[in-house]
Homo-oligomer: 339 residues x 2
DNA sequence: CTGTTAGCGCCTTCAA
DNA sequence: TTGAAGGCGCTAACAG
């Protein structure tokens, strides 16, 4: 009652061959309705369950997709993965999760393992500087799709938001509130495209509105609350203090606000603040935080869709699709001076 | 350069047999150092990568673990999965994620698919009332381990927190603050053990401290902020209004506090509030919310460990281990009246 | 419509 | 120490 039931077992019982059983199970037209029905019934009765491993080995397709993220327990990545899982599951795929903790080596290991597992594609939000790991994937002819933290490469699809636009509209919004001395706190280094883009959007907005750009107003930190507090301490020790902060992270924005309030500065009157990501907590606060929505759920769904389209299409031409979602400005109390 | 390299390819190149290659690759002692070295080098050179599917089919072990949760993009489940992935990855396992959205049918489907995929174990936080799905798993002799939302069954391990204790210490804490009319907002129905336990802990604490229990003070809702607001409206339309609320969800606690403040009631002076889960946002608020920490990361790690121990041990006796973590009371502003 | 055969990539006896 | 052969469970020609 516990050992595995194979198609041979049910073939034996019915005095037919395994091929017949296989055909019946797969709705193959070349089979009589009577035997098909018989097979299906006994399969049910014997509690048969197909072995996807065998099918995978035979067909060369595992129906598994590998997803690599820095870590899974953040709202952003959790939501992206949720979107991926939902979309893919409906098409019969399963999702294998890997975390890198922003470690390049770990990321390379994960890729290696996923390739060994014969995944049909790899979706990733990369933490790597170089691209050799990715070339390994492409060499294997398996689709690689970036989401959020992409790397610009040929033959690779990606789903991102327009981070430049995100940085731009965030900064423009602060300018519209009357701010003239806008600081920017960036998280991570500029090797990561998304942060480089947000920074570029910030600069462009300043430029377009005839505001000077100052190196002193740009800080690079990690993405923790405490980093936000530290950043504010530094910014407000300058002789020429800023009157607004555009943070590339909601957590840093929160820390910044906490520190500003500790310094008895009014938000948004004295200093307007806007974050990035629309983490749920930004809306729970008494002083709710303005931010940029990245639509992680849609990003995940879209990533899955891009893959599904890609495999549906003729293998002849490799499609590479660069989907760019529009970020959305969400104005809340931390930056709203009522125009 | 792109087609799959198998052990046969490298065998051919070396004029040996695939078996020899296999042995070399697996550090089999029965092989000369020279050929082993040669094989390893050419394998490297030819960019050989083992096919885990084939090994899985051969060995009957896929080295994949299925994890089933209601949904992945919450801090709690995200953190549990993170813990699981970290612990398991170190032992060469990969994690396949499935979401149920609290739907029993979906859960059954997920189990079915995972079994077909020959996962070596299933970890789950169940949304089901009945246990027939689980019996299918056990019949297949593959380990089933519950975490958080368990179902009491034989031959099944589980890792949970002591939800009874959680409900108890939360309620006791409110009593210690001088509250006498303590309401309880439960999320989900009482078919889910964790909520039943928290509720039981609440009642026991009242009983032990000679406080009366009243049905009027117990509400069942979903787990959204809005539900918390609604619950408070109901509770405060009673003639005999409560002076404290123990919510089984942080989100509901937040909604409750918002509504209380809207009603011009002081928290914690007029009404003390405590939530459950220690969602990060509870600590970000100006009026930080007291809560019960469930140690999700540890829970995930422990779940993985229980599994690893289980397979290491002799197969003869099925170990079933019921690990119960101690929840921790976290006192913050929403309930702290300074004794 | 059904049976036979072969093979996906690997490991593991059993011989040599 | 190495080779030969069989099989994990399934599907896909190719026959009949």
């Amino acid at each position: 009652m516990s050992k595995k039931v194979t198609i041979y077992d049910i073939a034996k019982k019915l005095n037919v061959t395994a091929a017949t059983v296989s055909r019946a199970l797969n709705d193959n037209p070349k089979i009589s309705d009577s035997t098909k029905k018989l097979v299906l019934e006994t399969a049910e009765k014997m509690n048969y369950r197909q072995n996807r491993l065998a099918i995978a080995l035979k067909s060369g397709r595992s129906n598994n997709i590998g997803v690599i993220v820095p870590r899974i327990n953040t709202n952003f990545f959790g939501s992206v993965i949720r979107g991926i899982e939902e979309e893919l599951n409906a098409s019969g795929y399963q999702v294998i999760i890997c975390q890198t903790h922003n470690d390049e080596e770990k990321e390379a290991e994960n890729v290696e393992t996923l390739l060994n597992s014969q995944v049909d594609a790899i979706f990733m939000s990369t933490s790597s500087r170089n691209t050799i790991t990715f070339e390994k994937i492409l060499k294997k002819k398996i689709p690689l799709i970036f989401f959020d933290r992409k790397k610009t490469m040929d033959n690779v699809s990606s789903v991102t938001i327009d981070d430049f636009a995100g940085g731009y509209i965030a900064t423009k919004h602060l300018i519209d509130q009357g701010c003239k001395k806008i600081a920017h706190i960036s998280t991570g280094d500029l090797n990561i495209e998304i942060f480089r883009e947000r920074f570029a959007g910030y600069k462009q907005a300043l430029y377009d509105n005839d505001l000077p750009f100052s190196e002193d107003y740009v800080l690079f930190t990690k993405s923790n609350i405490e980093d936000g507090r530290e950043a504010v301490k530094k910014l407000f020790s300058l002789k020429n203090k800023p009157d607004a902060i555009f943070s590339a992270s909601d957590f840093v924005a929160l820390g910044a606000i906490q520190e500003l309030q500790a310094m008895k500065l009014k938000v948004p009157q004295d200093v307007a603040v806007i974050g990035f990501s629309n983490e749920p907590f930004t809306n729970f606060l008494e002083l709710s935080i303005s931010t940029i929505d990245q639509f992680p759920l849609e990003m995940g769904r879209m990533t899955a869709k891009v893959f599904l389209e890609q495999i549906d299409s003729s293998e002849v031409e490799k499609i590479q699709k660069k989907v760019v979602l529009e970020p959305k400005l969400i104005i809340r109390k931390s930056s709203n001076r009522g125009k």
